[in-house]
């Protein structure tokens, strides 16, 4: 790639990274405020994990004299910036390592599900954008509406049931079904279920279809037709690539939310399941770590989108 092409990307990357930093600061603040307002004193629990002696002294002080909220926030924030997210109340292990360990599983689940969603939505959207509503595309659209309204937990049961009875594989914890014949298939189930049942497919289809339709009506597509060129070559970037990356960035939070349920149904050892467990145990440090890590995931998605947009769109660097 030429230098001239890299410069705008670097620019956008730095701008997005700054925005990400600002947003993560905001995220941490929101998390803090929620816990600060909550009854009880979650922060005394939080600060127990602080390793340094000074911090511990600070807590002891705090037990006597209540510290101001911003002092608490700042000390928590500095702790986090040093990689100290506290320790889990339930397991006593450091939150950061715990959350990162399961975060990878959730990342796999999220990316996989996103692919499944796109594999279903893109063909339907393309077909109905090109052909309009007809005997084939209308039932497909309706089908998308129905699966978008499907409660994902119940859909998970159906898939599990079918799997159990068809393949004789029982829903064991992720990875532990390894001696069995179709074990790898079992790992794919939650990905499939979340990809189909995350509730966004009909919306994804509609927005992709609208974008594609808009682009197909552009003057430059008419020019491409008039010169006998392949239309998809000319419409691909604006009609498909950009909207798809936008969808990916916009839907990551929804899929992460769905992951909480799907991981529960399938015993998938990810962040969602950990968040569920933590919410049951009121294990604040863990759930805070998860909130922040999932915000990082979301920002990564939008970073990816911005980079693709700038790389593809020559005008973007001028905007």
């Amino acid at each position: 790639m030429k230098l001239s092409a890299i410069r705008p990307i670097a620019l956008v990357l730095s701008r997005e990274l700054m925005l990400t930093a600002l947003l993560l600061l905001g995220v941490s603040f929101v998390v803090f405020i929620i816990l600060y307002l909550s009854p009880g004193d979650p922060f005394s629990v939080l600060l127990e994990g602080q390793s340094s002696a000074e911090a511990r002294a600070g807590i002891r002080e705090a037990l006597g004299v209540p510290r101001s909220w911003y002092a608490q926030y700042l000390s928590w924030l500095t702790g986090m910036l040093q990689g100290n997210f506290g320790t889990s109340i339930r397991t006593g292990l450091p939150v950061l390592t715990e959350v990162l360990r399961v975060g990878l599983n959730t990342l796999i689940l999220t990316i996989g599900s996103m692919l499944v969603t796109l594999l279903i939505a893109v063909p339907i959207a393309l077909y109905s954008a090109v052909r309009g509503t007809n005997k084939i595309s209308w039932p497909l659209t309706m089908f998308a509406y129905v699966i978008s309204a499907l409660p994902v937990f119940w859909f998970g049961y159906i898939v599990l049931y079918v799997f159990m009875h068809k393949f004789g594989i029982f829903p064991l914890a992720f990875g532990s079904s390894s001696g069995q014949k179709y074990a790898w298939l079992y790992a794919l189930l939650p990905i499939f279920v979340l990809g189909v049942g995350n509730g966004t497919i009909s919306e994804v289809i509609r927005s992709l279809r609208a974008e594609m339709g808009r682009v197909m009506a552009e003057d430059y597509i008419r020019t491409a037709k008039a010169k006998g060129a392949a239309v998809w070559k000319h419409s691909f970037k604006e009609g498909l690539l950009i909207p798809v990356t936008e969808i990916i960035a916009a839907k990551i939070p929804f899929i992460l939310g769905g992951a909480v349920i799907v991981e529960q149904v399938f015993n998938w050892p990810g962040m969602g399941r950990m968040a569920w467990q933590a919410a049951q145990d009121r294990d604040y440090p863990v759930i805070m770590g998860i909130a922040i890590l999932s915000a990082v995931f979301v920002r990564m998605g939008s970073l990816f989108q911005s980079v693709v947009y700038v790389a593809v769109n020559p005008r973007a660097s001028k905007e």
């Binding site: 925005l19 600002l22 947003l23 993560l24 905001g26 995220v27 929101v30 998390v31 929620i34 816990l35 307002l37 909550s38 009854p39 309009g132 007809n134 209308w138 659209t141 509406y145 129905v146 978008s148 309204a149 499907l150 409660p151 937990f153 119940w154 049961y157 599990l160 049931y161 509609r206 279809r209 609208a210 009506a217 003057d219 008419r222 916009a250 939070p253 929804f254 992460l256 939310g257 992951a259 909480v260 349920i261 529960q264 969602g272 968040a275 569920w276 919410a279 049951q280 009121r282 294990d283 604040y284 759930i287 805070m288 998860i290 909130a291 999932s294 915000a295 979301v298 920002r299 939008s302």
Partner: protein
């Protein structure tokens, strides 16, 4: 006078006749189905709140557990404790109806105020709104709700507060877009030139005449989300708790029997969720297609 591009635009606008006719019918069918669901939900809510139920939803009948639909005295069968499914489904609406309205109210009220302020003033407000939107979008909603649940207590009203607040930016950006559009068309300028007070312009001309349908559509879609969140959270055990029925905890409670091949106790509430959310989605999209003139389906 039609210029070339306008004509070619029309070519796109008119499409093959039967499909357009069909598409219109499709939208009408969407809205019709949606209204049917809304009526059913509201009627069931009223029945439930006056306790006008076929049976007592808490009445155990250990003789008649997991009866299939159509059993005498239990039109939709019974659950794993022999409680009447139909009654429990009707009462289950109590779990989300008022909380859902609360979520919608919060989203519409704050969203409208924020949208009007940013659309009207722009500048710094706009930057602030963009930041706020990005901030809200950075949280997966379910994770945020779990955080709130962990910090406070598992209450449906806390959950709906979060649902409502996280929908504020959506409504705000729609209202803002509408105002910017009106500004571009010089409607607002014309109003100001007429000497109308700002209050009249905003309340009557902008909100009532131009944002009414948009707000209705957002309300329907908001209800769909509220139902989804309530059922999800109740399924996870953080929403409405047994023995009070909610569609979510009914699915969860029936799940143990699902693997044994006894589908009905969790399938009935799941279908209720499916058809209801579908109804609100179709109502919103159908109205959008018809009233706002956008083709989606």
């Amino acid at each position: 006078m039609k210029s070339y591009t306008q004509i070619s635009g029309e070519i796109g606008e008119f499409s093959d006749l039967p499909f357009w006719k069909k598409a219109d019918l499709v939208d009408l069918a969407y809205v019709g189905y949606g209204l049917l669901i809304v009526t059913l939900v509201v009627a069931s809510y009223i029945l439930g709140s006056f306790n006008l139920l076929p049976r007592d939803p808490q009445d155990l009948d250990l003789e008649l557990m997991m009866a299939p639909p159509g059993t005498a005295g239990h039109a939709l069968g019974t659950d794993f404790m022999g409680r009447d499914m139909l009654s429990r489904l009707i009462v289950g609406i109590q779990a989300y109806f008022l909380p859902g309205l609360l979520a919608i109210g919060i989203a519409l009220l704050f969203g409208t105020v924020l949208g009007v302020v940013t659309g009207y003033r722009g500048g710094k407000f706009d930057t602030a709104i963009t930041y706020f939107t990005n901030l809200v979008d950075s949280f997966p909603r379910l994770v945020l709700i779990l955080l709130v649940v962990a910090a406070f207590k598992p209450s449906i009203y806390y959950i709906m507060l979060v649902v409502g607040l996280t929908n504020v930016p959506v409504v705000a950006s729609l209202i803002k877009g509408k105002i910017l559009f009106l500004k571009q068309k010089n409607f607002i300028e014309a109003d100001t030139a007429l000497g109308l007070p700002t209050r009249t312009i905003i309340l009557k001309h902008i909100l009532w005449h131009n944002c009414r349908t948009l707000l209705i559509i957002q309300a329907t879609l908001g209800m769909a989300e509220a139902i989804l969140m309530e059922t999800s959270l109740s399924y996870l055990g953080f929403g409405v708790q047994e023995p009070t029925p909610s569609w979510g905890n009914m699915v969860q409670a029936g799940a143990n029997y699902f693997m044994q091949g006894k589908f009905w106790p969790s399938t009935a509430p799941a279908l209720a969720i499916l058809f209801t959310i579908l109804g609100f989605h179709l109502l919103g999209d159908g109205l959008n297609n018809i009233l706002e003139g956008k083709r989606g389906a």
